[in-house]
Amino acid sequence: MKSNFLKSNIRRAVIAVTAAVVMIAGSATAYAWFTNQRRLATITKVNSPTVLAIGAGAKESSLNIDMGGIDVEDESGKKDFVFSVYSDESVEKYKLQIAHTTNIDFVYTVYKAVEHTSDPGNDRVEYTAENGNVYYYTKSGGAIPGSYLNQSGKIADKSLHDKSYGGYNRVQENAEPLYWQTADVIQPANNNLSGFLDYYILEISWSDDAVNNKETDMVYLTAGIA
């Protein structure tokens, strides 16, 4: 009886020692494994892709840029529209572009603009925001230099036709868009980490020859990172 008791204890002891040794051996293997692993780590910031936006006055949606209802009988011979270029991120430089059809003999000129919350008097463009507040804008400096990329007289030549229409050639000459872009890149005013807001005035002018004949033109304003 006693002999059986001893054997049982010896068996338990041997099993316990074996289990402990296996555990230690396993740990040692893992230890050796990890000591052979080498790693280098570096980290950087991910910046949001820069987003440029075009808006109306008061940094409102571009849906509010209303260029309809130009009356060429107006003796001033021009009408001004305010628009904005802005970003919530820092932008180093950008370009402005205008594309328009040529049904009406309009001249398109772009000026930098300054915003006023009170009426500065003559030669200002008035913009009524969605909340009813009225903002005023005046031109700052001369016309922004730029040039057409595909102009031939008053209409577009065929140099960029394929880009617009591919192989389609039955396009009426005044429907072929003229492409204009600023000569120099524009550095945003008051640019900082939280972005910038630049205002512009697009002046559309016409000569005495222009007549109200129900023609329409399409005008695209674009701004792109330069």
């Binding site: 054997k7 010896i10 068996r11 041997v14 099993i15 020692v17 074996t18 040794v21 296996v22 230690i24 051996a25 040692a28 293997t29 230890y31 050796a32 494994w33 990890f34 000591t35 052979n36 692993q37 080498r38 790693r39 280098l40 780590a41 570096t42 980290i43 950087t44 910031k45 991910v46 910046n47 949001s48 892709p49 820069t50 987003v51 591919g166 192989g167």
Partner: protein
């Protein structure tokens, strides 16, 4: 007697395992104890074959890393005659360390000069590290190149912020998939043609040095690019579209063929919205904008989807950690 035999067998087994354990411990001791004496041959069976290192300065965002600072080694020979470097390397019990950077090797995280910090579409650069051989031998190392993404909520490591594990973006998330397809890594770059090659597509690459010499550092370059637009991977190299742009094609036309297949096979790595005919769009684009069959609708659709993916990455990912690790056999 019949009952004693199994006991003797178990006891002998335990002794054998114990002897093996002692062997493993000795092995670990040799690896971590740099004062161990012995010539190259004597160290052969027990020592780690190499260390990893890089040199110059800390990255601008290193305070977000949990990896520790490495050990400074001085005047380590390089492959170039008479050229020596002083890298900060693994070893001495430091197995995961911060990857030091300099003006030629960085992840847009070099603070020196007026360098741009952070990456966005259009960013590119090179990251170099050194494999420092510890004995004369043939080195043949499998490396794993991994990215860990964090949200913008990640904070510098401090007493109150032990790590940024709660800011990690899951590896199987949409954003992580898109990062794999938009932030690209290559092993080669040709400065003349300005083309990258040997893309690291599955996160692994091999370093081989058949005749590595003890105490010599061998440089490994990894080129990274976040393309500005999809044009750079799909349009032909000589496409007229590139003439007026500040960017150009970044892979060869031959590699574009393989890339088109990759676009179709793994669309989730490239587009957040994959609901369009990617194969047809890529095939049409790859013929070039001057092709009579060029389809502007395909072009706009593919580019718009590509740009959306860039926007999603930019909006969701605050930081990207890059790790290079040797894969154990």
């Amino acid at each position: 007697m019949g009952k004693v035999k199994p006991l003797i067998f178990m006891l002998c087994s335990a002794i054998v395992i114990l002897l093996l354990t002692v062997g493993f411990f000795s092995y670990g001791w040799f690896i971590n104890n740099k004062s161990t004496a012995g010539d190259d041959t004597a160290m052969k069976a027990t020592d780690s074959d190499f260390e990893l290192g890089a040199f110059d300065s800390s990255g601008a965002f290193d305070e977000y890393l949990t990896a520790e600072n490495g050990t400074l080694l001085t005047d380590i020979k390089t492959e170039q005659l008479f050229s020596k470097i002083s890298p900060t390397a693994t070893g001495g019990g430091k197995n995961e360390i911060k990857w030091l950077i300099n003006d030629k090797s960085n992840f847009n995280n070099y603070s020196g000069g007026n360098a741009e910090l952070g990456i966005q579409p259009g960013s590119s650069g090179k990251l170099s590290f050194y494999v420092i051989a510890k004995r004369d031998m043939a080195l043949d190392i499998n490396f794993s190149l991994d990215t860990v993404l964090y949200t913008a909520d990640a904070k510098p490591i401090s007493e109150t912020n032990a790590d940024n594990s709660d800011c990690i973006i899951a590896a199987d998330s949409t954003e992580a998939g898109l990062v794999d397809g938009h932030i690209l890594f290559f092993l080669n770059y040709d400065e003349n043609s300005m083309l990258y090659s040997d893309r690291i597509t599955d996160g692994s690459f091999v370093f081989s040095k058949p005749d590595a010499k003890a105490g010599t550092a061998y440089r490994v370059d990894i080129y990274w690019v976040w393309p500005y637009v999809a044009d750079q991977l799909i349009l032909p190299q000589n496409d007229g579209c590139f003439t007026s742009k500040e960017y150009g094609k970044i892979i060869s036309d031959a590699d574009t063929e393989a890339f088109k297949t990759e676009l179709v096979n793994s669309p989730e790595r490239y587009f957040a919205d994959t609901a369009f005919d990617i194969a047809a769009a890529a095939e049409n684009m790859s013929k070039g904008t001057a092709s009579p069959n060029f389809n502007m609708e395909y072009y706009n659709k593919l580019n718009a989807r590509w740009n959306e993916a860039d926007q999603l990455i930019g909006k969701s990912v605050g930081f990207i950690e890059l790790q290079v690790t040797n894969v154990l056999p």
